[in-house]
Symmetry: C2
Subunit: 436 residues, 2 copies
């Protein structure tokens, strides 16, 4: 058997401890599959004294994690520190600059700095791998890089944030409102104390930008992701969607269209959608993640599994280590960085879709006439409209409608016409509809 | 860019033509992802004159497909001829013996001869790849070999035959009986003129044996797969299952248990099951395939997509070609053949499961007493029992029951007690229950 693959591990939170536990538990199996031993040599984290439930005594401890990147007895650095910049990024660059492979679960860092890191990795001819950055334990980076590699992809979309999916499917099951379910999710560990990155869609946007780069050969452009979170979704919206045959899910979606002059334009967006109950994503409940890739020959492929957690994330990290041990690595984003196309973002106003709209209005005569007139004037055709009988939030009532398919910008124009109206007591909610 | 990967293609049915079409259509994309051109050099099939909807003039035609394996200008032979033995196997061995890589979609050949072929491939240090042999366009071979590589798998199971799944889900939708739906499937091209291999579960068994080898490091043992097809499933069973909260699917399943002396015992079986409606496999309809892999760290992963068809199958074949062009190949069954463990098959009688049983009986007094006495005597506990009021098949009635969980062998013993009974007018149907 070949020489062991020598690993340094930075960051010993739940995932880091999970990686240690996995490598210990499945040691022989990993060696058989990788063709050589996966050997943790050195570790580093903030607090040496903390009990992490794993025995760290076999490994050299470095107080300064930067020292891991400089060790001669290390082939791969595993970065599990987190944060887009700061120590994680410094370590990543130091590792690559020193000719070591890098494995990371850090979606924020890859979304912001993936191009620069991939350039370093290619320059040094070492691996940069980040399977665990997207979809937790689901091998979706490999799925796109290797599984769908023969296809021009038409669309990639999915459920990429387990916290939002837990909250939305819990709201669905219990009828409780957002704030209440969020508190419960925090209590159960499904949501962070500061949940902003999750519930505002930023975490899903990080992952989407990574998938877009791999799937479409697009130069990573996180800043161009259009992101809407789930904080505006009410229990009443979920009930309304249910009655119409839909569930609500936070959907991240990316595709490419051609401009009039033939240039590729990249669409990347994260937003809550009504998903038809017959769609495979509608039955994705709780913290589960799922990604759909539609190829021009493969048709629709679905990858589903646990989107987070120490075990699944460790599974993805160690799968990357096995790839490196097998010397099966290749370009981090499937094609060399220099060939990734810098794509302008598209203005999707011409896209045709059907939309769910919810207005919070005063319960007084003329409100419906005002709303429907704005729809008519903007060219939006209404398929169904429901005014809820019972008042909520002190006298306000909800008006929900579903539009026929039409250009996105028409709905936007209708809302502009209603902007400033005294009939509306809160900003309207607009959710696109994803059918099977 | 490196030298082109030079390809010879044997067999130009719908899949072969699909591979040509894919390579033509996605040419630039494939070159970017593979790092070199995928170049078809020579082709061979039975009938040169046949119109296949693709232009074959750029490629050298060989009347004798064996000649493909001997050409100096070929790096990889793609075998799409079909059949476990005969010309396909001869070509496969000739290609490997001549030091050429082999890509095949031939599940029967791999299930029967995969070990010998992998030995040749390893001896010659060339690639043997067969992503298209299992699950059509779903990258499940790569999913197990690379995606779940860090895990000890607890179980692999799924829907591996699109014909059976089409028939069962169509019976579900229409209430029609097996024979009627089979004829329709044949008319629509979802079932072969001779559907035996599909409806008797043999095709699914081929695929399962391949997955078991990759997932569990077991020496391929197709002969040990316990296989039951779907021909005995009646519309009444599907209606009954529906009322109980289940659908019926042909499920292929494999796992490993330890014998009393600590030896690994391999379970491989294909059989129709009642699948709880909340399970992800219950919503897999029509010719779609899906595979679940449960890892000790990843948890449950699901891979789903089109199980057959020229586009999806070509997608899988060409993904293998890209792996070869990238020089990312490794052992065909994830670990070297010599390390695959020859596992004895398990006798699963001690396994605990809940079972659906359907009896076709004479409509006369004492029948229920006879059946329930047999259950009692064999130690089978009945959870629910339904005797259908209306007679079918000339005076016979159906009695359906669901058992509490218990050892499999008890149900078998109960049926042995009833063997030869004049009350039963047809062999009973036994379907295990797969819960979420």
């Amino acid at each position: 058997m070949a020489e062991p693959l020598r690993i340094a591990l930075a960051g010993l939170g739940t995932v880091g401890a999970g990686v240690i536990r996995l490598i210990e538990t499945n040691r022989d199996l990993l060696a058989a599959r990788a063709g050589r031993e996966l050997k943790v040599v050195a570790v580093s984290a903030r607090d040496r004294a903390k009990d992490r439930g794993v025995d760290l005594s076999p490994y050299t401890w470095e107080d300064d994690m930067a020292a891991l990147a400089a060790r001669d007895d290390v082939d791969v650095v595993v970065e599990l520190v987190g944060g887009a910049d700061g120590p994680a990024l410094a370590l990543a660059h130091a590792a690559l600059d020193n000719g070591k492979a890098l494995v990371t679960a850090n979606k924020a860092m890859i979304a912001h700095h993936g191009i620069a890191l991939a350039e370093s990795a290619e320059e040094q001819d070492v691996a940069l791998k980040f399977e665990a950055a997207v979809g937790g334990g689901i091998p979706v980076v490999k799925g796109l890089r290797e599984g769908t590699s023969a296809n021009a992809l038409e669309r990639i979309y999915g459920i990429l944030n387990g916290t939002c999916n837990y909250i939305l499917s819990k709201m669905e099951d219990t009828g409780a409102d957002f704030a209440e379910v969020l508190s419960e999710a925090q209590r159960l560990g499904y949501a962070e104390a500061d949940p902003t990155f999750d519930i505002e869609g930023v975490d899903a946007a990080h992952k989407l930008a990574i998938l877009a780069a791999i799937g479409f050969g697009a130069r990573l452009d996180f800043a161009a992701v259009r992101t809407t979170g789930i904080t505006q979704v009410k229990a009443a919206d979920i009930a309304q969607a249910d009655a119409l045959g839909f569930v609500i899910r936070l959907i991240a979606m990316t595709d490419v269209e051609e401009s009039d002059s033939g240039e590729p334009l990249l669409l990347q967006r994260v937003r809550p959608c009504l998903v038809s109950k017959g769609h495979p994503l509608a039955s994705v409940d709780g913290p589960t993640n799922a990604v759909v890739a539609e190829g021009n020959f493969s048709g629709r492929l679905l990858f589903q599994g646990a989107g987070a957690g120490d075990g699944p994330t460790a599974s993805a990290v160690v799968a990357d280590l096995i790839d490196i041990a097998r010397d099966e690595v290749g370009a981090p984003f499937s094609i060399p960085v220099a060939q990734l196309a810098a794509m302008q973002p598209t203005e999707p106003g011409h896209r045709i879709e059907s939309t769910y709209l919810r207005f919070t209005v005063n319960d007084r005569p003329g409100v419906l006439a005002e709303i429907t007139a704005a729809m008519r004037d903007a060219g939006v055709s209404i398929e169904s409209l429901i005014q809820q009988g019972r008042a909520v939030d002190g006298g306000d009532v909800l008006v929900a409608m579903v539009t026929h398919e039409g250009p996105e910008r028409c709905v936007r124009e209708a809302l502009d016409l209603l902007d400033g109206s005294e009939s509306l007591t809160a900003p309207p909610l607009v959710l696109p509809i994803l059918r099977d």
